[in-house]
């Protein structure tokens, strides 16, 4: 069991400590009224997440997993599989219909879904960060790159202008954003550069969990490769528990060690990433992998 004391982030007792940093149990999100019959009328076997009984959409159901510090878990599936719904429930952007999500913090385990809105928001400042597919969701476009990083820092109580600027330039340098653009409005940045600013902002308060929602979708190949390379090196460098949502197996392969395959709101397969690519069991996974290999 690694000892995190020198990391200085978590004064961890030397006893065996459960691996997970984030533990999700039977997470579900349904749009519309539901009961057992409605749930049973959706899913991979039925071939749809929209219930024929009453039209309710079971976006995600019975999703459980754990993510340890320093580990990256992939959530893969086509659009509408429920992977983004799961991420948004954990981020606090969407309220789950049922299930529990426990997060290990310095003050002990926290059941995220039981927290009130202000407590959830404080969690997003220094414990759980999100990098969205669309940078506009994670950043303010009419504010400078440095200013976007100043937001989580000031929210966490930083009150020294010089130190804020130093931390912002340190993060931007680490995510390879040219320092002479630090005071430019984010609106004027390219797509790839915006994602790098968003990643810098996410790391501002050294969060223990970072959720990545299709971080490179919409970027052209070379730019995407650079961003993925950055994310991979950051995950290795910091003992972050990460969740990477993507429809692209190459992203999953590059960033994650284990992954869940989701279809029509359900988890159809849960395995080590390289095993999954070598020997997919579920027919849906097989089709996905085949398509990715073609």
């Amino acid at each position: 069991m690694t000892n995190d004391v020198e990391y200085g982030r978590y004064p961890v007792a030397r006893l065996a400590v459960p691996e997970w940093m984030l533990k999700v149990e039977r997470l579900g999100r349904v749009y519309g009224p539901y009961d057992d019959t409605v749930i049973a009328s959706t899913g991979p076997e039925i071939g749809s997440s929209k219930s024929a009984v009453n039209g309710a959409v079971v976006a995600a159901w019975d999703v459980s997993f754990e993510v340890a510090a320093g580990e990256a878990l992939g959530l893969v599936g086509e659009s509408g599989s429920g992977k983004t719904t799961v991420l948004r429930c954990l981020a606090g952007d969407v309220a789950p219909s049922c299930g529990e999500a426990r997060l290990r913090t310095t003050e002990g385990d926290v059941s995220m879904f039981d927290l009130d809105s202000s407590a959830r928001r404080r969690l997003r400042i220094d414990t759980l960060a999100v990098v969205y597919q669309d940078p506009a969701e994670g950043l303010k476009m009419n504010i400078s790159a440095g200013g976007n990083i100043a937001e989580p820092l000031t929210a966490a109580g930083w009150r020294n202008f010089g130190k804020i600027r130093d931390r912002a330039s340190e993060l931007l340098t680490r995510t390879e954003v040219p320092i002479n653009r630090m005071d430019d409005l984010v609106r004027s940045f390219s797509g790839g550069m915006k994602q790098r600013v968003q990643i810098a902002k996410a790391l501002a308060n050294s969060p223990s969990v970072v959720l990545f929602d299709e971080p490179t979708t919409g970027l052209d190949a070379s730019v995407a490769a650079g961003v993925l390379d950055l994310i991979r090196s950051l995950l290795e460098e910091h003992r972050i528990a990460a969740i990477v949502v993507s429809h692209d197996f190459s992203v999953i392969e590059m960033l994650t060690s284990r992954c869940l395959v989701m279809q029509h709101g359900r988890v159809v397969e849960n395995a080590l990433t390289d095993q999954l690519l070598e020997d997919p069991h579920h027919p849906y996974t097989q089709r996905l992998v085949a398509a990715a290999r073609a």
Partner: protein
């Protein structure tokens, strides 16, 4: 109360009926008990227009009785048009005496200035408020503003100060510098100059803020922590002009205003200036 005494009270030159005064008093007490929180209140229409001191006037009328001595100023000037009009309304309807000397006044209604001196533990300062919401520059939606205050989530305010400092080299907030009251609420201090801000901190006097148009009352009790929002390493700067002294009383110890395109300066607090001149005469 029987019907006829209600009617009688209406015939007198009262500007506010008794129920209105009680409602305003209840809002004032709530404001003092929760320093910096904007208490909503009914806010009646006054003989002065909205945006011209109707909120300050309502507070003064609810607070003042005939034993009080009232000072009313605008831009620090007892003889300003708006101050004269308001003072006339207050003294005729409450029977209170009036003065221009802050030290003699028990209640001081002011627009955009805190008198240079004379405020002590017996004084009540009533400031007129054009815009009660300190965060309006960073957020427009009132539901979100209410949440930000309820959760003391002021990070966007700090980001705007950071951006200001980065873009302009200095914090360019001119008057009405936002302050954190009692380490809890950010407050709009009304367009008083930065020169006056330090005197709100741990003040001997009670300050009541009346926003008639936007129907809000808030307060800073005496001996309360009031901190201008600024970074540790960016000291709070008051207005300053090298070598400027008042052309009448020769002092530079008061907030000065100048003639356009000239270096003739004068005290904004005319009574302080007058007393300074008399003292040195």
């Amino acid at each position: 109360m029987l019907l006829d005494d209600l009617i009688d009270s209406a015939q007198s030159d009262e500007l506010l009926d008794e129920f209105a005064k009680r409602e305003i008093r209840r809002a004032i007490l709530a404001a003092v008990a929760i320093p910096g929180y904007q208490v909503p209140f009914g806010s009646r229409e006054m003989p002065v227009a909205r945006g011209w001191g109707s909120g300050g006037l309502q507070i003064t009328l609810a607070v003042v009785h005939d034993d009080d001595v009232v000072k009313v100023i605008d831009q620090g000037d007892d003889d300003g048009v708006n101050a004269v009009n308001l003072r006339r309304l207050v003294t005729t309807s409450t029977g209170a005496d009036q003065t221009s000397i802050a030290a003699e006044a028990s209640v001081i209604q002011s627009r955009h200035r805190i008198p240079e001196d004379g405020l002590d533990e017996e004084s009540i300062l009533v400031l007129q408020v054009p815009v009660p919401e300190p965060l309006r520059g960073v957020e427009r939606d009132m539901r979100e503003l209410a949440r930000m205050h309820a959760e003391a989530d002021y990070s966007r305010m700090w980001v705007s100060l950071y951006e200001d400092k980065v873009r302009n080299g200095v914090i360019t907030q001119t008057t009405g510098y936002p302050c954190l009251v009692n380490d809890r609420y950010v407050v709009a201090t009304t367009p008083i100059p930065r020169w006056d801000i330090p005197r709100l901190h741990e003040s001997p006097f009670l300050t009541l803020f009346g926003a008639g148009r936007e129907k809000r009352i808030y307060a800073i009790p005496p001996r309360t922590k009031v901190e201008p929002l600024t970074f540790e390493d960016v000291p709070f700067e008051v207005e300053h002009a090298d070598g400027a002294t008042c052309s009448l009383c020769k002092s530079n110890a008061a907030f000065l205003v100048s003639l356009p395109n000239s270096d003739v300066w004068m005290c904004s607090d005319t009574d302080w200036c007058r007393r300074t001149r008399e003292a040195s005469a």
